[in-house]
């Protein structure tokens, strides 16, 4: 056995990323690691690659217990990882990046640049990648950077290689080349761990599969023993629990309409309609384009073509300002970075988008502001010492309520919730759902992006599933996690088989 992980646990603050991660990889084997968004795959692999420590559990490499304090130790033990997000030095060349930290050195630490570039060029050529050793990495597309990462991993002559979803940004021919590399590595006797969402790609190369769910290994067996539907069952079996029960109301007139939205490589001919009073769920895997869709509707990213209508009025969407004045609100995925000015008082954040309504000739009406602040703190039950408390001191759930209240105070009617329950404890989740429900009852149109399938099933009136920038299908209320996952992860042709 090349690598064995036994009951690995890892917590980040109060959040448990891994409860019971176990995995055994043989030399000369391609081992697929699968699971939903947030199942703990990347965390487990970062532990193997020395990027993160483990809280408890065992890691054995060739039978010897090991722990890596940093990536360098892991590399010295023969482990290389191809990362999902590029971890390259953008201002250096492709060749320099491939051999970064492993340069040929002349005396006194002088780097033999020409030797490096020559080796890099040979490596690139042998795989037929569309790269050149002397190109600067910052000029490369995400796919190009991914290929550099792959070259870097191969060049390290590692005995265990980890691929974290490397093909999501690659073209078909590049993907085939990556599979060829994986096969070659396998023949050379290396172990390969391959994280993926897309099983169909890997039927041909994979030997063994391990499935993670909610931070624990739930199943591990030879790939051939598992049908697709069995696989989906293992992946999604997340506990539905009794989070929240919502009674949908009869929807009114269409409030938000998207017609044929197009953005190169990100959104493809995307159309949908949300009516007043409706909560529409949007499911999809990482990289399917859900967040990008929200950003486009909110005027952050430009569209190549297509039409966005609010209340039958086509919108000029050049900036969030245009979207806000049309009554669109975005509750972003990344609350701390884009949702809140965390260092400012709660009250200031609450009224940030509605200051015009609280001022005259630019002068703020402080008694009106104070009234609005305390009204929304009460209405959304925001737990705070008062409107002057710094927002950073509040819990995630209460911060989220501030972001929502900001838009309600502004008078928005179309709400885009991007992962509204991320980083929020269970009690606060229910409160956020209650707020969403009451907004819908007041006639708002809500788009809810979520990777938490049980939540989508319980909250949404209907669920749209995105795959690779398209709407792959629509599912009714009370659908199953399996059906969502099948649409999100597999090509239509495969489903009809």
């Amino acid at each position: 056995m090349l690598l064995e992980l036994k009951s690995v646990q890892k917590r980040f603050g109060g959040v448990t990323a891994l409860r019971d991660g176990s995995l055994s990889v043989r030399a000369g084997e391609v081992h697929l690691l699968m699971g939903e968004n947030g199942a703990g795959k990347s965390t487990l692999m970062k532990i193997v690659a020395g990027m993160q420590g483990l809280d408890s559990g065992e890691m054995l490499l060739r039978g010897q217990p090991v722990r890596f304090a940093n990536p360098k130790e892991a590399a010295a033990a023969g482990i290389a990882m191809v990362h999902q997000e590029s971890l390259l030095a953008p201002h250096l060349t492709v060749g320099e990046n491939i051999f970064l930290g492993r340069e040929d050195l002349a005396p006194f630490g002088v780097i033999r640049r020409s030797a490096i570039m020559e080796r890099a060029a040979r490596l690139i050529e042998s795989h037929g990648f569309p790269l050149r050793a002397d190109w600067r990495v910052e000029k490369l597309s995400p796919a190009g950077r991914q290929l550099v990462e792959i070259c870097r991993a191969i060049a390290s002559n590692a005995s265990l290689l980890i691929f974290d979803e490397p093909t999501s940004s690659l073209s078909e021919s590049e993907t085939r080349e990556v599979f060829q590399i994986v096969r070659t590595l396998k023949q050379q006797g290396a172990g390969v761990i391959y994280i993926t969402h897309r099983l169909e790609e890997l039927r041909t190369v994979g030997d063994h599969v391990t499935i993670l769910r909610d931070g624990a290994t739930v199943h591990s067996c030879p790939l051939a023993d598992l049908s697709r539907s069995q696989l989906i069952q293992h992946m999604v079996g997340r506990d539905l629990g009794a989070l929240y029960q919502r009674e949908p109301i009869p929807p009114g007139k269409p409030l938000l309409e998207l017609r044929h939205l197009q953005r190169a490589k990100i959104l493809h001919d995307l159309s949908l309609t949300i009516r007043a009073g409706e909560i529409v769920g949007l499911a999809g895997l990482m990289g399917a384009g859900r967040t990008e869709l929200c950003r486009a509707i909110f005027g952050i990213d430009p569209l190549d073509s297509g039409l966005i209508l609010v209340d039958n009025q086509p919108l000029p969407l050049h900036s969030p300002r245009d979207a806000v004045s049309a009554g669109i609100a975005l509750i972003p995925e990344d609350r701390q970075r884009t949702g809140l000015a965390t260092q400012l008082p709660v009250g200031w954040n609450l009224t940030l988008s509605s200051l015009s309504a609280h001022s005259r000739f630019g002068i703020l009406n402080s008694s009106l502001l104070a009234a609005t602040e305390s009204r929304f703190i009460d209405r959304l039950r925001i737990k705070t010492a008062g409107p002057t408390q710094k927002s950073v001191r509040l819990s995630g759930g209460n911060q989220q309520k501030i972001v929502i209240a900001k838009w309600v105070a502004q008078g928005a009617r179309v709400f885009l919730f991007d992962e509204p329950t991320r980083g929020i404890d269970v009690g606060a989740k229910t409160e956020v759902f209650e707020v969403m429900d009451s907004l819908a009852r007041d006639g708002a149109a809500i788009l809810m992006v979520s990777s938490e399938l049980p939540e989508l099933i319980q909250i949404a009136d209907r669920i749209l599933v995105m795959r690779q920038g398209r709407i792959a299908g629509e599912l009714p209320r009370h659908t199953t996690q399996e059906e969502i996952m099948a649409l999100a992860a597999f090509e239509q042709e495969e489903l009809s088989l």
């Binding site: 909110f298 952050i300 900036s319 969030p320 300002r321 979207a323 806000v324 004045s325 975005l330 972003p332 970075r337 884009t338 949702g339 809140l340 000015a341 965390t342 260092q343 400012l344 200031w348 940030l352 988008s353 200051l355 015009s356 001022s359 630019g362 002068i363 703020l364 402080s366 950073v392 900001k406 502004q410």
Partner: protein, 305 residues
């Protein structure tokens, strides 16, 4: 809260200690402290607003010179004194607008933009004046910098008025609130639908206008439109803001803090003059004070979280 009052306490202790220095409490000395610090104080008020938006304006020294020069030239050409002062302020406002416009439209870091405009404005000032100061100014103009109203220097009233104005802008207007939001988290401000570029540009223009006024005060005190005036003033203005609790990361700063910061520096300079400490040492002392003030403030913030 106690630590937040630290600059204030420092000022009081400094003042109390200086009371033991002969001549410090004399009316002549106190009003000269006020007159000397008025120019930096007025500039620092504008700088406070800019720093709150997490920007910086390195060109204020040059703007001061151009405002003072053009104002003086206007009066030399026969314009009445108020019109001359207005010319100086308008010149400053325009230069500030330019800084804001370039920062927001070209999306270049304000440090770089104002480093560039520092050179451009100073250079143009020298070109316009041919490097020569303007002396033909009506005598009544000296009242602005040297006059007395109800027993105190006129500039103190002016400073109070400007301080109240900036305080009002920061605390009671949309502009100020947006400024804090932009400085605290520019992404969140943009996502909240705030017209970021417009408000940032406005704030640079206001900073420029206050600097233009400071240029007129300087011109009035010297009774000269001096194209080389204000060199290095930008650093003193930034120091006043920072000593008074403003953060170069943005989102923090106040009028009262900045005024306290400017007076701390003014009193230190005055005190060392009276004690006969060399001006060379004064520079070193003020430098050390800046680092001390900011590190104490950092410690406060870290312990508060």
């Amino acid at each position: 809260m106690i630590q937040r009052l630290l600059p204030f306490a420092t000022l009081i202790i400094l003042f109390a200690a200086l009371c033991f220095v002969p001549n410090f409490l004399s009316e002549t000395n106190l009003s000269s402290v006020i007159r000397q610090t008025a120019v930096i104080n007025t500039m620092a008020l504008g700088m406070t607003m800019v720093i709150i938006t997490s920007g910086i304006d390195l060109s204020v020294g040059a703007i001061l010179a151009m405002g003072g020069l053009l104002g003086a030239m206007a009066m030399e050409k026969g314009l009445p004194i108020p019109a001359g002062i207005a010319t100086g302020i308008a010149t400053g406002a325009f230069c500030g607008f330019l800084n804001g416009f370039l920062t927001t439209r070209l999306k270049i870091n304000s440090f770089i933009v104002t480093l560039g405009t520092l050179g451009i404005i100073r250079g143009l000032t020298l070109v316009i004046s041919n490097g020569l100061p303007v002396h033909q100014i009506p005598p009544g103009f000296s009242y602005l910098g040297e006059g007395t109203l109800i027993g105190v220097p006129f500039v103190l009233w002016l400073l109070l008025a400007c301080g109240l104005l900036v305080h009002f802008l920061l605390e009671h207007t949309k502009l100020g609130r947006y400024g804090f939001a932009i400085g605290s988290n520019p992404d969140a401000a943009f996502y909240a639908g705030i017209p970021v570029a417009f408000h940032v540009t406005s704030i640079y223009a206001i900073c420029g206008a206050l600097t233009g006024l400071a240029g007129m005060i300087e011109a009035s005190r010297l009774m000269t439109g001096q194209p080389t005036a204000g060199q290095g003033y930008e650093l003193q203005a930034i120091a006043a803001v920072v000593i008074g609790g403003g953060s170069l990361r943005g989102g923090e700063g106040s009028v009262i803090g900045t005024l306290v910061g400017a007076f701390i520096m003014g009193l230190l300079a005055n005190g060392s003059d009276l004690l006969g400490i060399s001006p060379y040492w004064q520079q070193a002392i003020i430098g050390a004070i800046i680092i001390l003030a900011v590190s104490v403030d950092e410690l406060r913030k870290r312990s508060a979280v």
